[in-house]
C-alpha cells in the first residue's frame, strides 16, 4: 500500500473561476479523502441586509451570486410577501416565472460549457456559451442588463415585458430548441463524453437523500424533488409541466438532466407567454407601504436546487434577521462521496458536476489574533441546539406552535 499524499487544488486554480481550496488526499492515482475550504468570497451579506432598507435588500441579495441572480431576490420577495400575507398580481407572477426560467436555461448552458472545459473538451464550451448569448440578449431587451436583472420588487416586478417583445422571446426560444436538441444528441453520441462521464462520480439515491442534496444533483440520482412542484410558488401550479428525473446519479446523468431541463424550461416560457397574451395588460405590482412585525419564508427552485430565505421584521424599515440558505451548501457536501474512490483526473469534473456556487455558499469563521478558532463547528451546533430548545419552550408556553416531531 502506497503512502497517502496530498494534492492541493486552489485557491486560485486555472480551472476554477471562483476561489476555493480543495485538498485531495490520494493513494497513488486514487482519491481517498477530500477536504474543502471555503471563505474566500465571504462578504457578510446577511449582516449587510440587516442594515439596509427593505427595498435595498433586493439588490444586495441579487449580488450574492451572479449566475442565479434572480433566484435570491425572488426568494427574498416571496419571503417578504409571505410575511405580509399578500399575492402579487397575476401578470407579475408570469413575468417572474419567465425571468426565472430564462435564467435556468442560461445557467445550465453556462454549466454545460464549463463541464466541457473541465473534461478538456473546449469545443463544447464554445458551443454552449455561443448558444447562451441570445438568452443574455433577451435579458438585455427585457430588463436592460445582461446579468443582474433587478426585476424583482416586493409586491411585483419592476418592469413590464412589452407585448412587442413577446415575439422576440418566442423567436429566440424557438431558435434555441434545435441547438438544445443537438446538445442532447451530442451528449448521447459522443464517445469522449461517454468515457469521461459514464459511471464516474456516482451519487447513489441513498446518499443523495442522506446528504440532503437538492436540485439537479438530487434529481439525477432519482430523487424527485423540485420546489416548483412540491410547494408551488408564483403560478407554477397553473401551468402544465413535468419534473425531469434520471436515475443513474453519475456525471453523464447530470449533464443530460440539465439539457432536458433546458428543454422543459423553454416550454414553460412559451406557456407563460401564452398566458400573458390572454390576460390584459395592466398592474405589475401591488404597492406595499408598511411592513409589519412578523416573519416569513420564501423558497425558490434555483438552477442548482432549493434556495431558501427567511426574514424577520420588527415593524421598522429594515429586516432584523435575514437568513439565507443556498442550494450549493447541501450539494457541495456530496463531493465527499462522489470524488473519493475515483482517479485524480476525474476529480475536476466531479467537483464541478454539482454546479457548485461558492459565492452563494460562503460562510465565515472567527479566529482570535493568535490564530485560534473561536466557536468551532461542534460549539456552533451545540449553540444552535440550545437555541432551538429555548424557542421550543417559549412557543410551547405561548401555545403558538405544536411540535409534532419530538426530534426537532
Amino acid at each position: 500500500m502506497s503512502k497517502k499524499k496530498i494534492i492541493p487544488i486552489g485557491p486560485y486554480h486555472p480551472l476554477q473561476e471562483e476561489p476555493e481550496f480543495f485538498k485531495l488526499i490520494v493513494e497513488g492515482e486514487k482519491v481517498v479523502e477530500l477536504e474543502i475550504e471555503i471563505g474566500y468570497n465571504h462578504r457578510g451579506i446577511e449582516k449587510l441586509a440587516e442594515n439596509k432598507h427593505w427595498d435595498q435588500v433586493t439588490f444586495v441579495v441579487e449580488r450574492i451570486c451572479g449566475i442565479c441572480s434572480t433566484s435570491h431576490p425572488f426568494a427574498y420577495v416571496l419571503a417578504v410577501e409571505d410575511l405580509l400575507g399578500m399575492q402579487p398580481p397575476q401578470r407579475a407572477s408570469y413575468i417572474r416565472m419567465i425571468i426565472d426560467e430564462l435564467q435556468r436555461i442560461h445557467s445550465h448552458l453556462l454549466w454545460l460549457g464549463l463541464a466541457g472545459h473541465f473534461i478538456g473538451y473546449n469545443t463544447i464550451w464554445m458551443w454552449a456559451w455561443k448558444a447562451r448569448e441570445p438568452i443574455l440578449d433577451l435579458f438585455e431587451l427585457i430588463s436592460g442588463n445582461r446579468q443582474h436583472y433587478a426585476m424583482m420588487k416586493i409586491g411585483g416586478v419592476r418592469k413590464d415585458i412589452d407585448p412587442q417583445n413577446y415575439q422576440a422571446i418566442r423567436k429566440t426560444i424557438k431558435e434555441l430548441y434545435p441547438t438544445l436538441k443537438m446538445f442532447e444528441k451530442v451528449v448521447k453520441d459522443d464517445p469522449v463524453i461517454m468515457k469521461r462521464t459514464k459511471g464516474v462520480g456516482v451519487l447513489t439515491k441513498e446518499y443523495a437523500i442522506s446528504f440532503g442534496a437538492l436540485g439537479p444533483t438530487a434529481r439525477a440520482s432519482g430523487v424527485n424533488i423540485d420546489v416548483r412542484k412540491d410547494d408551488p410558488y408564483a403560478l407554477y401550479d397553473k401551468i402544465d409541466w413535468s419534473v425531469v428525473v434520471l436515475t443513474d446519479g453519475d456525471i453523464y446523468a447530470k449533464i443530460l438532466l440539465r439539457i432536458l431541463e433546458c428543454l422543459e424550461s423553454s416550454s414553460i416560457i412559451l406557456k407563460c407567454l401564452e398566458s400573458l397574451d390572454r390576460i390584459p395588460k395592466g398592474e405589475i405590482e401591488t404597492e406595499v407601504f408598511d411592513i409589519p412585525a412578523g416573519e416569513g419564508i420564501g423558497r425558490v427552485e434555483a438552477p442548482r436546487g432549493e434556495c431558501f430565505h427567511y426574514v424577520r421584521s420588527d415593524g421598522t424599515n429594515r429586516p432584523v434577521r435575514h437568513k439565507i440558505r443556498a442550494p450549493s451548501f447541501m450539494n457541495v457536501a456530496t463531493n465527499l462521496v462522489t470524488v473519493c474512490g475515483y482517479t485524480i483526473s476525474d476529480a475536476a469534473i466531479t467537483l464541478a458536476a454539482v454546479d457548485p456556487c461558492y459565492c452563494c455558499t460562503e460562510r465565515g469563521a472567527v479566529f482570535s489574533k493568535s490564530g485560534k478558532k473561536i466557536l468551532t463547528g461542534e460549539e456552533l451546533i451545540k449553540l444552535s441546539i440550545e437555541k432551538t430548545e429555548k424557542l421550543k419552550r417559549l412557543y410551547q408556553k405561548q401555545n403558538k406552535f405544536n411540535f409534532q416531531n419530538k426530534n426537532i
Binding site: P11, Y12, P14, E17, E18, P19, G39, Y40, N41, H42, R43, G44, I45, K47, L48, N51, F59, V60, R63, I64, C65, G66, I67, S69, L110, G113, W125, M126, W129, K130, E133, R146, Q147, H148, C357, C359, G364
Partner: protein, 142 residues
C-alpha cells in the same frame, strides 16, 4: 515605453483573480473568450499560471481572506505586470463597503492601471478597457 512593454502589447496574457466577487464579473471575463467576443483575436489569452501573466484581471470586493493571497499573487507575477480592476466591486467596493469582512478597494492593496466600472461590465466594456490599456502603453513612447 521600454522594450518589454513594446513586446508585451502584441500579446497580453491575462490571469484572472476573483477576490470575493459574485461570479458575474468572472463570467463576463470568460464570456470575452467565447465566439461572440473572441478576445483572442487581439492576441490575448487567459492563462493558468500567474508566473506567465502580463495582466491581472481582478474582480470582487477584497475580503480579509482573499486580500493577502491577492497580494502574494501580485508579488509572484513577473514585472511589468498591469492590473485591471473589473467591475464596481474592486473599483470602489460597491455595496459591500460597510461589510465586516471587506477591507478596502483594490488600489489600496496593489497599484491599479485600469478601472472598468459596471456591475457587471459588459464584455464590450472589458475589451474596451483592455484596449485602453494597450493605447496607454503604446502612446507612452517618448
Amino acid at each position: 515605453m521600454g522594450l518589454k512593454e513594446k513586446i508585451l502589447v502584441k500579446s497580453l496574457w491575462v490571469f484572472h483573480i476573483s477576490a470575493g466577487s459574485c461570479n458575474n464579473c468572472d463570467i463576463e471575463i470568460l464570456d470575452c473568450l467565447t465566439p461572440r467576443f473572441d478576445i483572442e483575436r487581439f492576441g490575448m489569452q487567459l492563462i493558468g499560471s500567474i508566473r506567465h501573466a502580463d495582466v491581472l484581471l481582478v474582480t470582487g470586493a477584497m475580503n480579509k481572506k482573499s486580500a493577502p493571497i491577492l497580494k502574494d499573487l501580485y508579488e509572484q507575477a513577473p514585472k511589468p505586470c498591469f492590473v485591471v480592476a473589473v467591475g464596481t466591486c474592486p473599483c470602489s467596493q460597491h455595496m459591500f463597503k460597510d461589510s465586516y469582512n471587506t477591507i478596502s478597494s483594490l488600489d489600496a492593496i496593489i497599484p491599479v492601471d485600469v478601472y472598468i466600472p459596471g456591475c457587471p461590465p459588459k464584455p464590450e466594456a472589458i475589451i474596451a478597457g483592455i484596449a485602453k490599456l494597450i493605447n496607454k502603453l503604446t502612446n507612452d513612447k517618448r
